[in-house]
C-alpha cells in the first residue's frame, strides 16, 4: 500500500506492494495516454488522427523515434504505440486511458474494464474459419465432438465451438496460422480475414464467418468515471473527425 510511510527510514520497512505503482495512478492534470496499435489498423487510422488534430502527418506516427511513448500536438495527450493485442491490455489495466483496437481483440479478452463507445468503422475484416480446399465435407466436423484448431484467438474459438457442442483443442499460434492444416498440426484455423488472398495462397478456403469486426475507440472505465470531461472531449474529437470524413 503506497499510503504507508514509516516515521523512521528503516531500510527494511515493508515497501509498497501495491499495483498502484502503475502509471494509472496519474493526477487529474496528467496527460491522457492514447494507445495505438502498430500495423494494419494504424495505417487506416492515419487520416482520422490527422483530422482530430493530434498529428500533422498521420502516416508517420512515431517514426524517427525509438521511444515507445511520444507527444502529440495536444500537450494533454501522449501516445504509446504497442501491438494490437496489447492495446486492450494497456487500456484495461489503466496504463493508457484511451486506445484504438479491433473488435476481435475486445471479443477475445472481454475485459470488464474497457468501454467501447465509438465504432471507428475502419480496419473492417472478419474472424473466420478456414480449412484446406481439399478437406472432406464440413458435415464430418460438425458431427464430431472434438476438433483441433490453430488460432491466435483461443477464447473466441473455444466459445464458438462450445455453442455447437464441440470441444475445440487449441494450437495457439501468433502468426502463420495458414501453415497449420497443411503441416497437419490442426484440421482448421480461425483467423482474421481481410481479402482472403493469404488463405488462397496456402490452399485454404473460408467456410464460416464467426464475426465481422471493425476498429473501436476504447476507454478505461475508471478513467471515464474519474476524468469524464477530458475523456469525453477526446471521444468527441474522434467522432467529429469521423463525421468530417463522411461529409
Amino acid at each position: 500500500m503506497t499510503a504507508l510511510t514509516a516515521p523512521d527510514s528503516s531500510p527494511d520497512a515493508p515497501r509498497a506492494a501495491s499495483p498502484c505503482a502503475t502509471s494509472s495512478c496519474v493526477a487529474s492534470d496528467a496527460p491522457l495516454v492514447l494507445a495505438l496499435p502498430k500495423g494494419r489498423i494504424l495505417k487506416a487510422l492515419g487520416p482520422v488522427l490527422e483530422r482530430t488534430g493530434l498529428f500533422h502527418d498521420g502516416s508517420a506516427i512515431g517514426e524517427g523515434t525509438r521511444s515507445l511513448r511520444f507527444p502529440t500536438q495536444d500537450p494533454q495527450v501522449d501516445v504509446v504505440r504497442v501491438r494490437s493485442f496489447d492495446v486492450a491490455t494497456f487500456v484495461a489495466h489503466g496504463g493508457a486511458q484511451i486506445g484504438v483496437c479491433g473488435a476481435d481483440v475486445l471479443m477475445e479478452f472481454d475485459y470488464p474494464d474497457i468501454y467501447a463507445p465509438l465504432d471507428l468503422g475502419i480496419g473492417g475484416c472478419r474472424i473466420s474459419i478456414a480449412r484446406p480446399v481439399d478437406a472432406r465435407h464440413e458435415e464430418t466436423a460438425v458431427a464430431s465432438s472434438h476438433i483441433r484448431v490453430a488460432t491466435k484467438y483461443p477464447t473466441i474459438t473455444r466459445r464458438h465451438f462450445a455453442t455447437q457442442g464441440i470441444n475445440a483443442e487449441i494450437v495457439h499460434l501468433h502468426g502463420a496460422m495458414e501453415l497449420a492444416p497443411t503441416l497437419d498440426m490442426a484440421s482448421i484455423i480461425v483467423d482474421l480475414v481481410d481479402t482472403g488472398s493469404t488463405l488462397k495462397a496456402n490452399g485454404l478456403r473460408e467456410t464460416e464467418v464467426i464475426a465481422h469486426v471493425t476498429s473501436r475507440l476504447i476507454v478505461n472505465r475508471v478513467a471515464l468515471k474519474t476524468r469524464p470531461e477530458a475523456i469525453r472531449a477526446l471521444i468527441e474529437r474522434f467522432r467529429d473527425a469521423l463525421q468530417e470524413k463522411a461529409a
Binding site: D12, V26, D110, D119, K225, E229
Partner: protein, 381 residues
C-alpha cells in the same frame, strides 16, 4: 530457475496475501476510522459469521452471489456451507430475523473479511475486506442521500480528497431491456453490450429501444451535464419514474454538499445485481479500482434498504499515510516499569531489551528504534 523447481512455502493460493507490519496496522486503523464515522451517525455495529449455511446465505437477494461463493461441507450437520463473498445480504438477514422487532429505520454498520471466487483478470483479490453501513426500513430520497453523505465524510476523514460518486440506477436499464421484448441469448448479448458500453453492438442489438439506450449512454458524465440530458429524454412512464428518482437524489446531494464530485451513469448496472433503486460507486482520481459501492435494494420480506460498502484495501491506497508510534529501545538494566509506562502513555512504542548488551545504540537501531531509554533518560539516536 529450473523448470522442475517446487514452489516455496511462502507461496500463497492466488488471490491471498500476507499483510505485513505497517500494512496490517494501516488497514486496522483505516477500518476503525471509517467505523467511527459510521458510529457517529448512529450506525450500530454488528458482526455476522464468516460461514453460513448455503441455503440462508444465498437466499433471496443473496442468489446474485452464487457464482462468487466458495462452499464447503459441514461435517457435523452434513449440510453445505458457504463462505460469505459479501456482507450486505447477511445484514439484511439479521435485520429481517433477529432484529425484526427493532425500531425502523434501523441503522447498522459492519466490517470484516469476505472470500470471493474471483473473476478473470482480478485473481489478485479473493480475500477482501468490507466496511459498510445499511439503512433499513425506509425508502426515501433523504435515506439515499444520508448514505452518500456519510460515506463522503468517511472518505474525508481518511484524507482522501479526489473522490467522486457515480450515481446510477440498474432498474432503468433492466426496465428498458425488458421493453425490448428480447429473451434468452439475444437479451444476454444486449445486456453485455450495455455493460461494456459497446455502442456499435447496442445500436445493432437494441431493436426498439436502441435509440433510448444510446441516448442514455450519451448522458453519462458529470452531474451538471448529465441531468439536463436525462430530464429532456422522452421515456416510457415507468422508466421516467425511475429516472426522476435518480435525478432527485443527485439534485438533493448537490444541494446538501455542493463540493461533492458527482457523475451520473444511467446505464451502469454492474455489481451484485440485487439492487433495485439508486446505486452509487465510489471512485478516486488515480485509483484504478472502485473504493466502494452501494445502493438501494429490497431486504428480506421486501423491506426497503439502502447501504454502502467500502473496500478498505483500496481506500488505504488513496488515504493519507498513517504515522506509526516512534519506537524506544528500553535497556535491560531499567528495573522500574514506571518509566516505560510513561513513555507508552506519551505515544511511544517501547521495545524491551531482554538481556544486557554492550552497544545499546547499535542494538536499538537493529530493532528499528529511534530512541534508547536508559537510566531514566530518553536518548535520541
Amino acid at each position: 530457475m529450473r523448470l522442475t523447481e517446487e514452489p516455496g512455502t511462502a507461496l500463497l493460493p492466488s488471490g491471498f496475501i500476507d499483510l505485513l507490519q505497517h500494512e496490517a496496522e494501516a488497514e486496522a486503523r483505516g477500518i476503525e476510522a471509517v467505523m467511527d464515522v459510521f458510529a457517529g451517525h448512529g450506525y450500530e455495529r454488528v458482526r455476522p459469521p464468516l460461514l453460513e449455511f448455503e441455503t440462508s446465505l444465498l437466499h433471496g437477494a443473496g442468489q446474485a452471489l452464487e457464482e462468487q461463493t466458495f462452499r464447503l461441507m459441514d461435517p457435523e450437520s452434513r449440510r453445505m456451507m458457504a463462505l460469505r463473498p459479501d456482507m450486505t445480504t447477511q445484514i439484511a438477514r439479521i435485520a429481517a430475523t433477529r432484529l425484526a422487532g427493532s425500531p425502523r429505520p434501523l441503522r447498522l454498520s459492519y466490517a470484516g473479511s469476505c472470500i470471493l471466487v474471483g473473476t478473470q483478470g482480478r485473481e489478485t483479490e479473493r480475500q477482501i475486506s468490507q466496511a459498510g453501513i445499511e439503512l433499513i426500513g425506509i425508502d426515501s430520497i433523504e435515506a439515499d442521500t444520508e448514505i452518500v453523505l456519510i460515506a463522503a465524510e468517511a472518505l474525508r476523514t481518511l484524507g482522501i480528497e479526489s473522490f467522486s460518486f457515480d450515481l446510477s440506477c440498474p432498474a432503468l436499464v433492466q426496465g428498458l431491456v425488458d421493453l425490448s421484448g428480447y429473451t434468452g441469448a439475444r437479451r444476454a448479448q444486449l445486456v453485455h453490450a450495455l455493460d461494456r458500453k459497446d455502442m456499435a453492438a447496442v445500436a445493432e442489438l437494441g431493436g426498439p429501444v436502441a435509440a433510448i439506450l444510446t441516448a442514455l449512454v450519451e448522458a453519462c458524465g458529470p452531474a451538471d451535464t448529465a441531468l439536463p440530458i436525462l430530464e429532456g429524454l422522452s421515456l416510457p412512464p415507468r422508466i421516467r419514474e425511475i429516472a426522476d428518482r435518480l435525478i432527485a437524489v443527485v439534485r438533493a446531494l448537490g444541494d446538501r454538499d455542493p463540493s461533492l464530485r458527482l457523475t451520473v451513469d444511467p446505464v451502469e448496472f454492474r455489481g451484485w445485481q440485487y439492487h433495485t433503486g439508486v446505486c452509487m460507486t465510489v471512485f478516486a482520481v488515480g485509483q484504478r479500482e472502485e473504493l466502494g459501492r452501494g445502493g438501494r435494494y429490497l431486504a428480506q420480506g421486501d423491506e426497503p434498504a439502502c447501504g454502502l460498502t467500502f473496500r478498505p484495501e483500496i481506500l488505504l491506497r488513496a488515504a493519507r499515510p498513517i504515522t506509526l508510534k516512534p519506537r524506544v529501545y528500553i535497556a535491560a538494566e531499567v528495573a522500574d516499569a514506571a518509566g516505560p509506562a510513561r513513555l507508552r502513555r506519551d505515544g511511544y512504542a517501547t521495545v524491551a531489551g531482554l538481556a544486557p548488551v554492550d552497544d545499546l545504540a547499535a542494538e536499538a537501531r537493529r530493532l528499528k528504534c529511534r530512541f534508547v531509554f536508559v537510566a531514566d533518560e530518553l536518548i535520541t539516536l
